[in-house]
Symmetry: C2
Subunit: 249 residues, 2 copies
Amino acid sequence: MSVQSTLDNRKTIRKFSDKVVSDELLYSLLESAGRTSTCGNMQLYSVVITRKPEILKQLAPAHFSQPACTNAPVLVTFCADYNRFNKWCRLNNAEPGYDNVESLLSAAVDTVALAQSFSLLAEENGLGICYLGTTTYNPRPIADALHLPSMVVPLVTLSLGYPAEQPALVDRLDVKSWVHSETYSDYSDADIHKYYDYKDQLPENQEFIKINKKQTLAQIFTDIRYTKKDGDFFSEAFVSFLREQGFLH
Amino acid sequence: MSVQSTLDNRKTIRKFSDKVVSDELLYSLLESAGRTSTCGNMQLYSVVITRKPEILKQLAPAHFSQPACTNAPVLVTFCADYNRFNKWCRLNNAEPGYDNVESLLSAAVDTVALAQSFSLLAEENGLGICYLGTTTYNPRPIADALHLPSMVVPLVTLSLGYPAEQPALVDRLDVKSWVHSETYSDYSDADIHKYYDYKDQLPENQEFIKINKKQTLAQIFTDIRYTKKDGDFFSEAFVSFLREQGFLH
């Protein structure tokens, strides 16, 4: 399949069949994903493939035991990694100075780009994937379950397997709403209405609003799914974790 | 082309021909890239396509006027964006609470994944791209040049155009060096030697070490290309920028 048709037809998959995903396939896809651009060719990442039920069970609560996680035969965790690079530096008479936020950021860009290349390769090969956004909420228990040393930070977890569902394509905003020409054009109220009003009208969102006893779809985001209280709490946990892993002082 | 052959054959391009990259092509590729997974279908990003010479000239110093930037006919800047989403919330009787690091992180994952999908689409369509790692070094002047409002943070800049060079495939670490089975296996000195020693021996790196009067390739990274002094300096600048944009208090 082309990149374009892989993207145009992709759907997040949360139910997986029993068909085994071979290590051979995963390593081969990761090898190709490794051609993704990487800052200074440093490849500041590590990937952990987890299948053992006892380790998956340890990881599940960190991902709030969401079905997209607990139903999956494999979890693949993408981590920004200076542990390996720093060891190489020290073995080569060089003193690394990467214990700062900027270094982590540049490794993070590499890591997420790698994860996205891998996702598209997986989808091209008939696998289904789901990004677990919970990885940055609970980095500490994930690091413990996966034995991540200092200078390693988990950023993306993909649950994957062969699909056991075929969901419909979800809606997306008009590309013109998020692409700007030359410089950023800020949004008027009329712009926001023009680009977003359809969302509240979608039957699935109408249902969602009704079940949750809310007035608008936006309230489901702010009051239920992504609240300020949770955001502030997980921010503090993430910042503490960066301190523990050696990226903040 | 398939995703796999696009990745297997890709090379970063830093010299571009005069052939015009149409807006029609870029919008169409961005529309397909917009199918990339996004947290809660919130699409917390904006993309700015810049071609006007006077704006490119303003952006260039923020990217240290590297040739990969100044030679390119187009720069595409990918930003994490809560400005648009927050406006939508407020117009819908919902109070957003996304002024924190965790919210930015989850938008950042979406933004980088989008940029990588777009990169592969661009490469499939004969364009060449270069990730400018300087975006997170100098977010303030980039935000000024592109008029980015509060709650918007630039994370990835791609310079792009039709290639005017055909560089060789660069080396990558053995996939086994960065993929771990079940949990993270830490590296012994012998592992690091096994996986990295070839790098110092590559003719281009031997040359690089000689020109820079260093003993090892690692010293070129730690003493010249990515120093502690720069990392600490740009970290402070980035953290100040997050405060200015409303993600830190």
